[in-house]
Symmetry: none
Subunit: 533 residues, 2 copies
Amino acid sequence: MAKERLYLYDTTLRDGAQTQGVDFSLEDKALMAGALDALGVDYVEAGYPGANPTDTEYFETGEALPNAKRAAFGMTKRSGRSLSNDTGFQALLQANADCVCLVGKAWDFHVDVALGISQEENLQGIRESIAAVVDSGKEALFDAEHFFDGFKANKAYALACIQAAYEAGARWVVLCDTNGGTLPGEIEEIVAEVVTHIPGDRVGIHAHDDTGHGVANSLAAVRAGARQIQGTLNGLGERCGNADLTSIIPTLMLKQPYADRFETGLTGEHLRNLTHTSRVLDELLNRAPNRHAPYVGESAFAHKGGIHVSAVQKDPRTYEHVTPEAVGNQRRLLVSNQGGRSNILAELERIGFDTPKDDPRVAGLLEEVKTKEAKGYAYEAADASFELLARRHLGNVPHFFDVESFRVMVERRHNALGELVTVSEATVKVRVDDEVIASVGEGTGPVHALDNALRKDLGRYQSLIEDLKLVDYKVRILTGGTDAVTRVLIESRDGKGRRWFTVGVSPNIVDASFEALLDSINYKLLRDGATVH
Amino acid sequence: MAKERLYLYDTTLRDGAQTQGVDFSLEDKALMAGALDALGVDYVEAGYPGANPTDTEYFETGEALPNAKRAAFGMTKRSGRSLSNDTGFQALLQANADCVCLVGKAWDFHVDVALGISQEENLQGIRESIAAVVDSGKEALFDAEHFFDGFKANKAYALACIQAAYEAGARWVVLCDTNGGTLPGEIEEIVAEVVTHIPGDRVGIHAHDDTGHGVANSLAAVRAGARQIQGTLNGLGERCGNADLTSIIPTLMLKQPYADRFETGLTGEHLRNLTHTSRVLDELLNRAPNRHAPYVGESAFAHKGGIHVSAVQKDPRTYEHVTPEAVGNQRRLLVSNQGGRSNILAELERIGFDTPKDDPRVAGLLEEVKTKEAKGYAYEAADASFELLARRHLGNVPHFFDVESFRVMVERRHNALGELVTVSEATVKVRVDDEVIASVGEGTGPVHALDNALRKDLGRYQSLIEDLKLVDYKVRILTGGTDAVTRVLIESRDGKGRRWFTVGVSPNIVDASFEALLDSINYKLLRDGATVH
């Protein structure tokens, strides 16, 4: 039997941006839209043009995505105003997007109280707004706000609202559980009734996690006939978050009764990218990934306790309902270093070492990785630092140069004009061969000054690092207080288009940054085949 | 109609202790058992005597709880050994506990492969073990491991296992979804069949969150007839965690169809203690509470979007499915560039300003908030910085002191012993009234040194800031490169138990940190009513 198609509509960049503490920049949006497209979702709702400058600019300048449709979110036209006089609505029609998702009322109480217009006027507004989107050549979606509350209060009117949108040409009517309070049984019952009025392949579900049922509600709607799921990566979203696509997607693709009945836009290959995509979002938001997240969490396939571990080794199905590899995650056996060893061996192979499994240096390297990770290093995110560590253990990393000393000063004072200014200056003494080179650099902050000083003159290596560029710099505080242990991750790029990541850890942010900077330079010299005298 | 009784079985201190990185001390266990008892759960499973010294000691010395039953966890007797020769089992019988929960096999595959005994021998072991617990005068529970997988593989045998326990006198047979892979539809179907064999008021459910359905699975079992729910506070537990009682309890008590049909051991008064109890656990584990947790999270009732905020103020039901007070939480209206005037007004009211809606200073404040947020400030996460900003606009913030200048130095050099060391030192010049005070501080890094210098001597304000403590420090890089714009968030606490958050933004991390530090001190002085001469 042919599988039915389920559509995935990601709103990480719009509804997810409502999360407390989350603020996507224009670059963040572009990067994340690309990652979501690569993951294989059908729609990427990237923002609400007109709501804030970033979203407005995104829909002015952003480019189409290779696969997914880009959606702009907005409101149905304002009441008491004609379409052409509603500048917000006109901006939506002009948005550089493939579709427009319009939120509108479906609860009579809100029409009466919040809008203060007649029920018919609201229906008319929905019809006109949807029709205008369709006329503009864009795909139209209608997001029925408070649909479930509205349905319980006045079923006929709630249905009339979505029917109006459907008849006006909306590709999808999306049933929104706006305050997140509806439970799965009710969702299933109501959606089953909706699809007797509007075909299920035109009906979507938009759930929130306020009772911990965001995932269950989305799947309940699918069982009842809805064929579009709206959600966010990592369950990002206001209050308790939106329905978590990171949990929903693997359940749909790997588990019954869904896997046999439905197909999504993702292939198995896409699915193996899920853990990575989830981590990219957390990196972008500079927050620690949720270890315990279903499927993609670092602990999702971690086994503690001797019985579990030996049982898992005998037969993984005992404690794993799916294979970690299917979602791009991995098993972690916390008491045995077997898992660690095979990770290390796999990494070494990737770098180009063909190390025998029982090479004692592998055990030594594993020990060092464990010790350093306990101190806060994170080699999963720092491939170049791992490679340097491994090569130092197994082969030899040439000793290109030594740093004899450095000094960084940050000073805030009144300048000659009486203005308060802050200046940062660094001095570095480097020994290359037998020559000691002292350089001074300035910068916008202590790390920038240090970076400038260090890379000003590396003697005979200088020409090799001229094309080295630091493109990202991330700081994570691992413990509390201003004397906290700090982890710095640096992303570097060079003229050959190579990218690599290095890590440094220290209670002193300058030290941690310096360590990551040194790793980056050493890695670049190594890759470019620099030699020592 | 009389309500049916649902029993809550908390296993935070046993299954929750399987969580990666979680280790309860004896004191922790006693404290948490007390908190759980005060919350009103029926059972507190506090550990596995014999599995580790802490658990063993807990069941030797621990005292009975005022209300809840204390449960000890363990295994059914070992195969090929008599009850009296199984020391582990005997220790369980001796445990200072009201009940014993015995885990045993219910999946034929495991009996054959893992135990390597006959199916009948396994049944016999279950019978004898449960009977021995009953004979010892303790309440017996049977935890049927892998019950759902076993049921799907060999229904008759899985049922025979729980039947054996039930007939031997188990108060409860608990159906365990050990690897967390069963979905709600299947749970409901299987439990419905189980309760045709064993009365539902003797059947419990033990679910895990591997697909994000821990809560939904527990409630599905209740709908199908089970009357005991096992879970943990905050969803603590191995891999993705156990079913989260913190989400389940309020849904049972506040929402339909549960609230009208069932009662638990908790009163409304108990329920208002839920948020507090959840935080106590996080405090004990020294981890940041999950802001987005259903019901109890700091963001669970936080509203960001401008439309949302004005709607919530008109009618909270619009975006709140239950009242935050019912679970001891509170509403939060966030200030951010997503929101508008109504957020600002609500915040001002919270701070204590009764500002008319059309006060032009409100528009000015909103403009400044937007401008600063465009530069990278994030006021929704920095309540104290927002309050200072607002007060500067609307009223007056006393000008307590000025910082004339500062200088921070970080130096790496070889010390007298030839070791490479990094030292950080800061000098700050502060003007209080007409006195200029210069202080020097050292620290593990530049910000720590600056903090120490700044707070060393604030003249006549010094006594007011003695109890000021910086408890968290977060850094976010807003743009790429080491010359990136940096946002620093600082969390402070004082001796009166107050907590506040401040923010600083600058391309220079030292400047950004300094700004947040100054805001923190100014806020503290303001709250403590410091005056200027």
